[in-house]
Amino acid sequence: MTRRLAALGIVLLLALALARVTAPAAGPRTTALALGIALLAASLAGDLLERARLPRLTGYLLFGVVCGPYLLNIITRPMARDLQLIDNLAVALIALVAGLEMNLGRLRRSLKAILALAGTTIGLMYVALLAVLWAAWPWLPIDPAASGLLRFAQAAVLTTIVVSFSPAATMAVIAESRARGPLTEITLAVVIMAEIVLIVGFTLVVQLLRHAAGAGPGADVGVSALLAWELIGSLALGSLLGALFALYLHHVGREVSIVLLFLCVVLTQLSRALHTEMLLTALAAGFVVENLVPPEGDALKDAVERGSPPVLVVFFAAAGASLQIDALAEVGVLAVALAGLRMLLLRSGVMLGTRLPSVPDPPGRLVWMGLVSQAGVVLGLAIVVARQFPGWGLRLQTVVVALVAINQFLGPAVFRLALARAGEVGGADRQVPSTSA
């Protein structure tokens, strides 16, 4: 450990010396340096946590939190923005690899279990959370004066956001742990299914909210069309790009690294330009590749996963650096209570699901631990509400930001623990590569 701390000391001294002897730089000149320092230091933090028998990725997150703009400010806001740029590419790559994981033939076997678990978990969470939030609404620091249908609609919006998961974080934990097995497959499928249900559900509750708040019908159509496009457009764009990439892999198969990078850049840029959900787009692309050319898809997935640790370290460090700790200080108690209730309902929903005959019990019981994470998509939904309803919407956003801060930090560690308990950590390394053509 002394050697590692000495190395960290040299890295930090080098960074300080550069800052002292050269003019302060901005933009692309700092990007590589910020990434280099982040990778090495986060990796050391991961080592440290591993020695304390905690997951390495908690170390990456902790590094981001401690060195991020809210605490030590070693990763300054411009550096955090640079990391965010890379983070978008990382999310595209992670989602693409997760899509490569979804072989229809393999999924068909566990489809019933996935539907049962997703149905019971989301259903129970929705009903219970909506009831609790509606009942507690007058005491919540969001819009206590609301009543009638408006209060119900506001509670329904907050419920939808609180129920939602983080497919990106789930996929990143799976990739970082090199996990394979029933728990991995079921959790991933449940999270993705929930993401689609969430987008549809959110469209409906926002419509209800606008109706209850007396907003014009034109705007109703706007939000609904936007969210419908987000869903259908993402799947269509992803399928198209995936099909093109599958053709390239099968017929050319050269310079795959560069073409893959190009695909991720195109995915992020087109998603931004066409207002589609980047994660769903990349997921659909990976899914199409895996099911059109399975041998190439499997080989690509294994190869990318082996080379992806640096991308995952940056993803988790950037996630840590972006945690808005100040929101926790404002509404911390409420956020902690919400996070606790959410976890309790997650566990209960999954336990209910495992009583159904189609769900394999031992891994099924652990699925709830893979659903704790929340991240970017949830924040995006809160921003939509805040823009539509600037008064109470902004207060709701603060609560959601604080809730995400908790779940974004706890979620990956809890899921890693579940994968370890299920004996699926490192499963990808134990699997014999298939050679079927």
Partner: protein, 380 residues
């Protein structure tokens, strides 16, 4: 200077892994078979493909890679340069093992440098062309970019292959000195010291972090982090990432050989995509103006003369070690020449170096195309 002669800029790691699992379709081998049928060298240099592709995609072509996108790719270029410098530094041990060939390579590269610099500077003065940099400095940058060779088609034991590997040293160190002297930094000696300090610091960090039995997933994070730190720190301090990489590589070669071996193994997997991106950026940054085309013509002719003269001089210096007329084998420039000039453009700014970069890009493609027809599989 490369430790792996089989692959001039490495092979794509994903290509290799996919091909191991999924046997390639017969049509994939169409290009090499056609090459063999025509008696041509089967090695297609990446510069021949990616520099023109970059030009087509760049702002002067279809505009798919815009000027802001090139800005975002700047850190990738710094890291690619650092990776190339590291490979050169790691291979620097050959100097001790082949002192006579090292002398030949210094003479050959020096002769090319002097001839190109002299011819281009004379033409620039004679034509009275207005350049952002003083003509002699511009010519010197072009000369440094013209001096490396790659000889990709030769077997590793061939003396010309060794010379081609060793002659990258002159432009890397020469460019580091030149850029420190004419760059925007405060003091040339301070900048040179900073370059070495960055390289050695990262070298020490690697020796402290890389250990035996480290899982590959942890090791790759450290190696990628080290490369980013190397390229990023050099770019931040406005010094040469090539030279900083060389300093780190040489330090690993002489002071921490175990760490050097680990880094070399991972670099072989990582550097191909980096080199391809850097070639695309070089192509996309090029502008084929009248000035650039005239410079290209002058550069191609003077480099041809330089390599022939350098080869002749080299065989005189160490007769018996290097065959007469081996300069012809050194015509393919590889990627180091373009790396040196792109590095100069990073430090001096696009206005000063665009014509020089474009000329070097054209010259690189021309010589690599000529290299396809060059003798291959040569025996010592």
């Amino acid at each position: 200077m490369r430790p792996d002669r089989e692959a001039p800029s490495g092979l794509d790691p994903l290509d290799i892994e996919i091909e191991e699992r999924v046997p390639p379709a017969p049509r994939r081998s169409w290009l090499p078979r056609r090459h063999h049928a025509l008696g041509l060298n089967p090695v297609t240099a990446p510069a021949v493909v990616y520099v023109p592709l970059g030009y087509l995609a760049g702002p002067a072509g279809l505009g798919l890679v815009s000027a802001p996108a090139l800005g975002y790719l700047d850190p990738v270029v710094s890291v690619a340069l650092a990776a190339l410098g590291t490979l050169a530094g790691l291979a620097a041990g050959d100097i001790l093992r082949h002192p006579r060939l090292a002398a030949v390579s210094a003479v050959e590269a020096g002769a090319t440098l002097l001839l190109v610099t002299g011819v281009v500077a004379s033409l620039l003065y004679a034509w009275g062309v207005a350049t952002a940099l003083p003509p002699l400095l511009l010519a010197l940058c072009l000369g440094l970019g013209a001096s490396p060779s790659s000889a990709p088609a030769l077997v590793v034991e061939h003396p010309a292959a060794k010379v081609a590997d060793l002659d990258d040293l002159v432009p890397i160190l020469g460019a580091a000195g030149l850029l420190a002297a004419i760059g925007p930094g405060p003091d040339a000696w301070l900048l040179l010291l900073a370059t070495a300090a960055i390289g050695v610091s990262v070298g020490i960090v690697a020796a402290l972090l890389l250990r035996d039995g480290q899982p590959p997933s942890e090791r790759v994070v450290v190696v990628v982090g080290l490369l980013l730190l190397l390229g990023g720190a050099a770019a931040y301090a406005a010094v040469s990432p090539l030279a900083a990489g060389f300093a780190a590589g040489a330090w690993w070669r002489w002071r921490a050989r175990d760490a050097g071996q680990v880094i070399l193994a991972d670099l072989r997997r990582l550097h191909h995509p980096l080199v391809v991106l850097f070639l695309i950026v070089a192509g996309a940054t090029s502008v084929l103006s009248t000035q650039a085309l005239w410079l290209s013509a002058a550069l191609v002719l003077s480099r041809l003369l330089g390599k022939l003269a350098g080869g002749w001089l080299g065989s005189r210096v160490a007769g018996g070690v290097a065959p007469a007329g081996f300069g012809l084998l050194l015509l393919p420039p590889g990627v180091f020449g373009l790396a040196v000039v792109l590095n100069a453009q990073q430090v001096l700014g696009p206005g000063a170096m665009t014509a020089a970069l474009s000329a070097t890009a054209v010259s690189t493609v021309v010589f690599e195309v000529v290299g396809v027809a060059a003798p291959h599989e040569g025996e010592p």
